[in-house]
Symmetry: C2
Subunit: 391 residues, 2 copies
């Protein structure tokens, strides 16, 4: 019976790790499975996904399709994800039939739906802003609102899509007719994140708190900074709450916990992602154990690695510049490579589009202020454009 | 004309980097070309070479065969090596026809042959132990010897094969009949190494000096330690001499310079390797720029990265244990993964043999003494064996 199979050797063995999704998170995971020589099989819908040429086996198929995910799962010894929008029913069936699936399908199911996710926080006494759930726009419009408030589509939001600040009655018109939640808009000092790793034995570790620094006018995250420039007592609280979230889920794998530091120095959870996360990319260069290696360790029930940093780390996303679409060109790469401690990661998407995530750059330095200065120079120097057309 | 082709964009572009050799050095190079999304094409004679499944294109062929190497070179935009035993005539022809080949064929030709390499040192006033060249055993035996001395096969030595300490007349019998050199045996305090990176613009950087720590009885390198536990003045001299060697060659790419610290604190060159090197593996975790990324930067004429360390690093080779051959098992991996700052690299060779290089483990720590203690625990814990047979 597969359920009782004990895999004792993952390294240069016949063990097959399956991954749903072959994007940049999968690609950075492959660096680690290659390092450990763990045979890795990937499913993605795009033939030219970043992982396609560098894994042991690459399968093309729709991650939301039951049969595709189920049949893929039958080919592997353990299944994980790099994106949470996958067919959960197939995962439940695979788990029932004895396959190890991490994060667990039940956790994915809760997290995939922002209403269920928020209810989970409330049930488990995890601080979060007050919310209400609605199944349609019609139902929503019966509500009496305190403006401004936050509206979120319950499902399939990604990188800020499906989230709106509703300031007045007029703004209501622009909302989609869909399963949704609304939340109080809580003023905050800082947006923070903590990555938690937990394995099947229950070993659990948090990474240091990172801080998102926003552009003062554009209100866009410009830098992810580790360690966050906050008081130790606040950092301690943030790590404790992140631990509590992962423990409450009995989560196996990596969990990225996004939170707000309120004006009263309270920590409230914004949302969680059950996987490696943009806010942990700095760890590849800055931490003793990168988040991607840690994810591998967690799901394979190996001892967790040290989460401390070797140096301060700052991450800048490389997104496609507005006004450019087509074959990507990274302008001024030489200039940023000439700055100390600067490492670009190019995800391998051949076409740029406005705001498309094309890569990221990590800046590491003994000194956080120095890293911050270099990060700004990086940000002002590199451009993700296209020579072929301007739109 | 190809010679004047200016490649302005290596990242997610049509540019093709060719690599001769697909072993572990190639595999660790691929981590970097994947990170930068540089299309990489590899040639190796073994279908199951460590690089075979994780590069953009993998070609099977004999690296010593003129046509194979020449035809491979015609498919790529720039050619490099991860092993120096390749067909040099093909490289010369490719270079003549305008292909950029780094390290340069002329440098490879000199280094490939230990007699020419030693002559080069002498001609360029680079300190090395006195030597003599012989084209055959017959010619060698006409010599009057001062025992003990060092005998080296002029070509194809690797990891100590082709090197012998000749203590007396009897030992002469065991020497092969081949092109060879003999050297004075110079007593030394320390065996050191320095990696130098140099690009086409002539930018040049050295990594810190590393030290090989030998087993007190077995006379085998047990640990590569960075930084070397030597006086600053000695380290400075070692880096200066390494710089001089790379400058003398006008080398492009990475050059690993192995040297001895004599009992009088002189530095003399032992030999050089025109590529990434075992003595630089610690840099993946410990340095701001890993030697593999630095090699990519050097050959593509990009700015060189910082060579400083984020933390102290120690490297332990994982070699097949005596008495075991067959399907490899890494015993006690969990135990070493539970030690802080420990990263195993598994090269992906499926079969172990006594003394075969199967991987390495890096230990990083803020404190070098602490790293050294953990390294010893690692060394005493992990075993590279086989369950299938004992020979």
């Amino acid at each position: 019976m597969r359920k009782h199979k004990i895999v004792i050797n993952y390294f240069s063995s016949n063990f097959k790790l399956g991954v749903l999704g072959g994007g940049q998170l999968g690609k950075m995971l492959l660096t680690e499975t290659q390092k450990f020589d763990i045979y890795t099989v990937i499913l993605d819908s795009a033939a030219d996904a970043p992982c396609s040429q560098i894994c042991n086996e690459f399968h093309i198929g729709n991650l939301m399709d039951f049969d595709t995910v189920y049949n893929f799962g039958k080919k592997v010894d353990l299944l994980t994800i790099e994106i949470e929008h996958v067919n959960i029913d197939a995962l439940f069936k695979l788990e029932e039939e004895g396959l190890e699936v991490y994060p667990q399908p039940s956790v994915l199911q809760t997290i995939q739906h922002k209403g269920r996710q928020k209810d989970f926080f409330v049930e488990n006494n995890i601080p979060t802003s007050p919310h209400k759930r609605f199944t349609s726009k019609e139902e929503l419009l019966k509500e009496t609102f305190n403006y401004p408030f936050v509206w979120k589509s319950a499902q399939f939001g990604y990188d800020g899509t499906g989230v709106k600040i509703v300031k007045n009655e007029n703004d209501l018109n622009s909302l989609n007719d869909t399963d949704c939640i609304i939340e109080d808009l809580i003023p905050f000092k800082n947006e923070l994140a903590v990555i938690v790793a937990r394995n099947k034995k229950g070993d659990i570790k948090t990474y240091p708190v990172v801080e998102m620094e926003f552009h003062p006018e554009a209100n866009q995250v410009e830098y992810v900074i580790c360690p966050a420039r906050i008081e130790d007592s606040v950092a301690k609280k943030a790590r404790e709450i992140a631990l509590k979230v992962a423990e409450s889920f009995e989560h196996i794998g990596l969990l990225a916990v996004e939170m707000f530091q309120t004006e009263n120095d309270e920590i409230i959870i914004n949302e969680v992602a059950p996987r490696t996360h943009n806010s942990g990319h700095y760890s590849i260069e800055a931490s003793y154990t990168s988040q991607f290696e840690q994810h591998v360790r967690s799901i394979l029930n190996l001892p967790l690695g040290a989460t401390e940093s070797k140096a301060a780390g700052i991450m800048v996303n490389l997104v496609g510049e507005e006004g450019f679409s087509g074959k990507v060109v990274y302008e001024n790469m030489e200039e940023i490579l000439s700055m100390d401690g600067v490492t670009p990661h190019i995800y391998g998407k051949k076409e740029t589009r406005p705001f498309r995530k094309m890569g990221h750059v990590t800046i590491v330095n003994d000194n956080l202020d120095e890293a911050r200065k270099i990060a700004q120079k990086v940000k002002n120097t590199i451009r993700v454009i296209s020579n072929s057309k301007r739109n």
